[in-house]
Symmetry: C2
Subunit: 351 residues, 2 copies
């Protein structure tokens, strides 16, 4: 693809190009910016709200609750087994909406491109993003493109912000998590984290693990349809199940205990974690969710999960009991250890 | 400020720090991330939707039209006369909502921080963002924070995405711009662009120009209240009035002619533009808007603008006539020249 002219519907202007790479001109708001948007972005994302060409999209909404969530993705490398930054951004934001109980209504897409990024790579990522959004059935209705100088960015950063509608009857909040709740996990842990690390510069290793990156909206709709009594939903992304449980423990009114023997971890993931000296409890998933649900409803919820293709590996992995706000693990040998939250490293830029 | 512990409501953990600067640990999703959010971001942005601590905000909305718009800000330098990247991000997104005729309902804020960013600088920008949002009366209800390695970002990039409600009765779209419309500009041109360039590394020059960065929602409400017949509103940001008019010409059904003698440009801006060899028509404003309105309503609209503190410098600067989709300027000497769209450079990272 060559971006050599901007036509503005018939108004031609020449554009300085750097062959088939992003240049600063693509971010300066005039001819090259328009040409990039019109030839590379709009054709993939086309929908009536976006095509209106205004400063923002205008959508019709019924009265009710709206969920609103934002994430910027800076994953490195940009492409990894099972996905790329484009599909990951769509899944991540759709999933944050789903964790609010919301059905996705619309996404925005804001790109920060580094000078020198090959246009072919950009188009591959944009096409992946569009495919992921089409699969979910959510339109990308508004966007923004900026360019920064070589060495001031890293290929591409993607912000996706999502709007969703929350059906009446659900009240999903961490503050509702309480003693008596069981913790139900939809599938195996740590596959996204291991897949990204397996192809990271300076760390790459051979393994067959693919990212679990996937949209959870349909699984969540099925779960909440079957068991509206769910107290809270979360997806264990950056920081993994472990960090997410610490955050919930801060809001909930009880102590969380995980059953080590119940935690689903694929053998290849376990092997990679042993190789790297990492705990799968603290590695990211991008297509799993965790439900906190009163014990009386847990079996029904597990059944609803297992009846969905994305929940076949679901398991009850722990419970909330009376106690201080902390997270413990009951080991395979019947012992009990308090979980410690890692200070921060070693996993930046996993999403 | 020292971010040396994360407490997660009582669960303490030590965090590796780099004195008073951003480290990769601040972006890894565990203790340091939480501490950064809880001590530096939440206190500035506090509001009930944000404080709920969920993966997204849940808002109540009445039935009707919702405007949704996104922008990532990569302005360089981060602070400039009259503003900084934080206030600019709030104003830019509030203004894109206003251009849709919308009143701001909520903003999101997603930050990409570069390792090594001084925490004091981050806090100054976050405080400025919060002050700008408070001034508008719009809450920042959901957010995200990522950290990239030194040399993979540039201090801080800010994405703000906005939600607004569009009152019934307006239909603002570039497709409605038509022959017979006059072009009404709310104030003087190019002040934001000149202010940023005046402090840019390698280009800095002495001048008294401050950015015009400001929120337009109140001015727009007054304009539309007085003259609901407005066809389209735009803010001439990146690429300036010139690039914006080319974009409108692509959608409208006519030719645009500007009156050079009517264009408001401050003497200091004109002097700076002559020094730099730049045309103020193509330099960004961040607190001005342009209305396309049928001639019969233009005088009333001008009156409404001039009655508002932010519209005192308003002027009718051109008109749309039958003709091909192009932009012309009638010069002070009575001549007529077609405007040429600059190819892209020389002004990256102006917003």
């Amino acid at each position: 693809m060559t971006l050599d002219r901007a036509d503005f519907s018939g108004i031609a202007c020449p554009i300085p190009t750097d062959g088939d790479r992003i240049t600063l001109a693509h971010g300066a708001g005039a001819g090259a910016s328009a040409r990039l948007i019109d030839t590379l972005l709009r054709p993939h994302f086309a929908n009536p709200a976006l095509d209106a060409g205004h400063d923002g999209a205008v959508l019709e909404a019924a009265a009710g609750r709206i969920a609103f969530t934002t994430d910027t993705f800076v994953v490195s490398p940009l492409e990894f087994p099972g996905g790329d930054i484009g599909s990951l951004a769509v899944h991540g934001t759709v999933n944050d909406l789903a964790m609010c109980g919301a059905r996705p209504l619309a996404l925005s897409c804001a790109l920060v491109l580094e000078e020198g990024l090959p246009l072919a790579r950009l188009e591959r990522i944009v096409a992946s993003m569009a495919a992921a959004a089409n699969h979910v059935g959510v339109p990308i209705v508004t966007g923004d493109t900026k360019v920064v100088e070589r060495g001031k960015g890293d290929g591409i950063f993607v912000n996706t912000t999502g709007l969703g509608t929350v059906p009446a009857g659900f009240d999903l909040r961490p503050q509702r998590v309480a003693p008596g709740d069981l913790i139900v996990l939809s599938g195996s842990l740590a596959e996204h984290g291991v897949a990204v690390l397996s192809v990271r510069d300076g760390l790459g290793f051979e393994c067959d693990v693919r990212s679990d990156s996937a949209p959870l909206h349909d699984l969540v709709a099925q779960m909440l349809g079957a068991v509206p009594e769910v107290h809270c939903l979360r997806d264990p992304t950056r920081g993994g199940l472990g960090a997410m449980l610490f955050e919930i423990a801060g809001h909930a009114r009880g102590e969380i205990t995980l059953e080590e023997s119940a935690l689903p971890v694929a053998p290849a993931v376990r092997a990679a974690c042993e190789l790297l000296g990492l705990d799968p409890l603290f590695l990211a998933c991008e297509g799993r969710c965790v439900a906190f649900v009163p014990e009386a409803h847990a079996a029904r919820l597990l059944g609803a999960l297992r009846a969905h293709p994305m929940g076949r590996g679901a398991a009850i992995v722990g419970r909330v009991t009376q106690g201080p706000p902390r997270v413990a693990v009951r080991t395979r040998l019947g012992g009990r250890r308090l979980l410690a939250l890692p200070a921060g490293e070693p996993l930046p830029r996993i999403c």
